[in-house]
């Protein structure tokens, strides 16, 4: 079973534990500027929104890479950067419609979320369940459950 990161921005408090966990897991240092997941604050609206790679099935970054440095991990569904092959051309950062592939000037390679090999540190660190790691084919489960709970007994659903 593949799993996906499921982000519920309504639960986020903007604490950046996910960014700290991501950078520590992947870079060995607490450094939000090197995190592959980012939390955005919309101050006037009072909203916090974590954002990261959704692991597109037909990934623009992977299609665009001229040196096949982005690989598909069949076990996790993640599109993973192969550091040994990446030449730092940044074409993938342009190709990605969501901005979730970024260049690291310290290494000359690009970085993106790889789901930590199937055990994402951000989800484990999140104190409010704003980031969870769930069945990739059932990401709507919690929402469906919420609406199902509101349904009156005996009422017929219209589809």
């Amino acid at each position: 079973m593949q799993r996906s990161l499921l982000i519920d921005a309504g639960k986020c408090t903007g604490c950046l534990q996910c960014e700290l966990a991501c950078s520590f897991e992947n870079e060995g240092i607490f450094n939000p500027s090197k995190s592959r997941i980012r939390v955005f604050t919309f101050h006037q609206q009072g909203r916090f929104v974590p954002y990261t790679c959704t692991q597109c099935a037909e990934a623009w970054c992977m299609q665009a890479c001229p040196v096949d440095a982005i690989a598909y991990n069949a076990a996790t569904g993640a599109k993973t950067i192969l550091d040994s092959a990446c030449v730092g051309c940044k074409v993938c950062t342009i190709a990605c419609p969501f901005g979730t592939v970024n260049y690291n000037s310290d290494t000359g390679k690009v970085v993106k979320c790889d789901l930590c090999g199937g055990d994402p540190a951000c989800a484990k660190a999140c104190p409010t369940m704003a980031i969870t790691y769930v069945d990739a084919d059932q990401t709507g489960y919690e929402k469906m459950l919420t609406w199902a709970a509101r349904t009156d007994a005996g009422a017929s659903a219209t589809t």
């Binding site: 408090t13 604490c15 700290l20 500027s33 090197k34 006037q44 609206q45 009072g46």
Partner: protein, 617 residues
């Protein structure tokens, strides 16, 4: 090791920025932030200097765990000599800039001298520059924040700034970081403005490493996060209601000071409580509270993000205040509300927004306004002084007018900026100033919570709840319940809380963790990250060392045991209602024992033996 090992020294007079090595021996004795910065301050300045003169220094210091994943590990402190009290000032703030300073590679920044023209520090990792602040001098913190982000085309800059209150000489001006977090008390912002330093803008991309034992550190961090999540206060009460969870609780036990501390209960408390912030408004159906918010790395997230009712008279024609910003926390809500007798939640939220926008301490401001209201009702202040405004207890219009006058720093606003002590002296009633060592009280009446009387009287920065929060024990039963109306055992309780707090304030962690954590939870996190062996006992001793170092500074500054007291109202006028009815604060029953437990003479001076034991020779 967790420390970066580097200090940035900014000579504002010469306009230079230079890097120097951290004194590692001092780091072992004082850990970081409050302790370590105070050590630098007391070594570098004469205690008797003018706090607003160029000889004063201002230190922005991170803690040992600031910038790490330890929950709440984003704190920094501003340490200087206070213009309000003449004591050592140490104001602690959350938000994000503390961690950013550490990420840029610095344990602390020492500002000295005075810039000839307004400047701001622009710090990007190793590169530090003083740039002209001419264009933002005379503008608010919020405007300066926007201008700096725009000028440097960098949305990720973290900014701390002073507003118009500091520039106008308000003696309790704050330094505001990240728009609505404050190094709030004792006038640290006034010192910053006196140096012609408008703002500090930081971007750090180096990260925080040097963790002594990463695996053990993360184990301690995760254990600590679990304790916070499972505790009723840090896991439920604070995220849901913020510190405002206390408003109704403290009112019920008869320790909510009201009307410049004439009363110990307030009929309108529930209207300005944490619960009220959740109630849908009649006008638009939205509650005052939009969401809770966390500072850097914080898994509690007690912060309030609020809106003001767009139809409220304070903002009716000011769409710039219709968005969200930092909402009411308990101390601010109390000072702006019960202490002034105002129970209008929107008026309080608006006043709180202005305190953040232009950088002044809502506790001291509200308390000073409450004193002014009492002076007005006595006839000592008249409408001639207030542009015709009736400065009456309970008037939301008066609160809004006074707050706007403070922002402008003109007329009566300038008088309010003097603080309660100087204002009451000026109008001939010094006895009406509810202050200790010149600093205004926070939101716990020591007639109803006896230990807090001793904590206020002996606090090294004047009246303050954050130097020894015995409310935790006396009201909430943390770590164990004591009787709030008893004085027995309170000397020991106050000392233990003061020492532990000084240690927490030096770690980079938030004091609010101690609703759930003891030093036994904190020490393993410090020990996992920092070189040296850090036990709970060592942390407590570190706190005691810091407390005595601060005391010594204050003694050298001319503060004496005679200043370890409370206003007569709290010692002579009994509480009129509630569980504490008939009680005054029995400070004299606690103070001698406190001095003895501290190892101080009966004149409140640390003995040579005490200094030697703590390594303060």
């Amino acid at each position: 090791m967790a420390w970066t090992g580097k200090i940035l020294r900014v000579d504002l007079t010469a306009g230079t920025c230079s890097a120097e090595e951290l004194n590692r021996n001092w780091a072992q004795e004082y850990l970081g932030q409050r302790g370590l910065a105070t050590k630098y301050l007391v070594e570098e300045i004469d205690a008797q200097i003018d706090a607003l003169g160029p000889d004063n220094k201002m230190i922005m210091a991170t803690g040992a765990l600031t910038g790490t994943m330890a929950s709440t590990g984003g704190r920094y402190s501003v340490v200087t000599k206070s213009p309000l009290t003449g004591c050592v000032a140490c104001s602690n703030s959350g938000g994000f800039i503390g961690a950013e300073i550490k990420n840029a590679g610095w344990d602390m920044i020492i500002f000295e001298g005075k810039a000839p023209r307004p400047v701001y520090l622009y710090l990007v990792n190793d590169k530090a520059e003083l740039l002209s602040a001419d264009e933002i001098w005379g503008t608010s913190v919020w405007h300066s924040d926007e201008w700096l982000h725009s000028k440097h085309q960098d949305p990720m800059l973290r900014i701390a700034a002073v507003g118009r209150a500091a520039e106008a000489g308000c003696l309790y001006a704050a330094i505001i970081n990240d728009l609505h977090r404050a190094a709030g008390r004792s006038g640290v912002g006034t010192v910053m403005a006196s140096k012609n330093l408008k703002a500090v803008a930081v971007r750090g991309t180096k990260g925080v490493g040097n963790i002594k034992d990463p695996a053990r550190f993360m184990e301690a961090v995760n254990a600590g996060k679990k304790v916070l999540a499972e505790n009723a206060v840090t896991g439920q009460g604070l995220p849901s209601y913020g510190t405002q969870v206390l408003m109704n609780v403290i009112n019920e036990i008869g320790a909510l000071p009201a009307h410049n501390m004439i009363d110990v209960q307030f009929a309108g408390a529930q209207n300005v409580s944490g619960e009220a912030m959740h109630e849908p408004r009649r006008s638009d159906g939205k509650p005052n509270l939009t969401t809770n918010a966390g500072c850097f790395g914080c898994t509690i997230a007690c912060g309030r993000i609020s809106t003001i009712d767009q139809g409220h008279f304070s903002v009716e024609h000011k769409p710039e205040y219709w968005g969200n910003s930092g909402g009411l926390e308990y101390e601010a809500a109390w000072a702006l509300g019960p202490d002034t007798g105002v129970d209008d939640l929107d008026a309080l939220t608006y006043a709180n927004f202005l305190c953040n926008e232009d950088g002044f301490d809502p506790i001291s401001f509200g308390s000073t306004l409450a004193a002014a209201m009492e002076l007005f009702e006595l006839g000592a202040i008249t409408t001639d002084d207030t542009d015709g405004v009736e400065l009456k207890f309970g008037s939301a219009e008066a609160l809004v007018w006074a707050t706007e006058a403070m922002v402008k720093g003109e007329g009566f606003g300038r008088e309010l900026g003097l603080g309660s002590k100087r204002l009451c002296e000026k109008y001939g009633h010094p006895e009406l100033s509810m202050t200790v060592k010149g600093q205004e009280f926070p939101a716990y009446d020591p007639r109803g919570i006896q230990g807090m009387g001793l904590a206020y009287a002996t606090s090294n920065r004047g009246a303050c709840h954050l130097r020894g929060y015995t409310v935790a024990s006396e009201v909430l039963g943390i770590p164990e319940k004591t009787d709030p109306l008893a004085t027995d055992g309170k000397a020991g309780l106050v000392k233990a809380f003061q020492d532990a707090t000084a240690a927490v304030d030096s770690s980079g962690l938030c004091l609010f963790t101690t609703f759930a954590w003891s030093l036994e939870d904190i020490a393993p996190q410090v020990d996992g990250a920092c070189e040296g062996d850090w036990s709970a006992e060592r942390m407590a001793e570190l706190g005691e060392r810091i407390w005595n170092m601060e005391r010594d500074f204050n003694l050298r500054a001319g503060i004496t045991a005679a200043d370890d007291t409370l206003p007569k109202r709290l010692l002579k006028d009994a509480a009129k209602t509630g569980p504490a009815k008939g009680r005054v604060n029995d400070l004299d029953q606690m103070l001698p024992e406190y001095y003895a437990l501290r190892g101080w003479s009966k004149h409140g001076v640390p003995t040579d033996a005490t200094r030697q034991r703590l390594g303060l020779t």
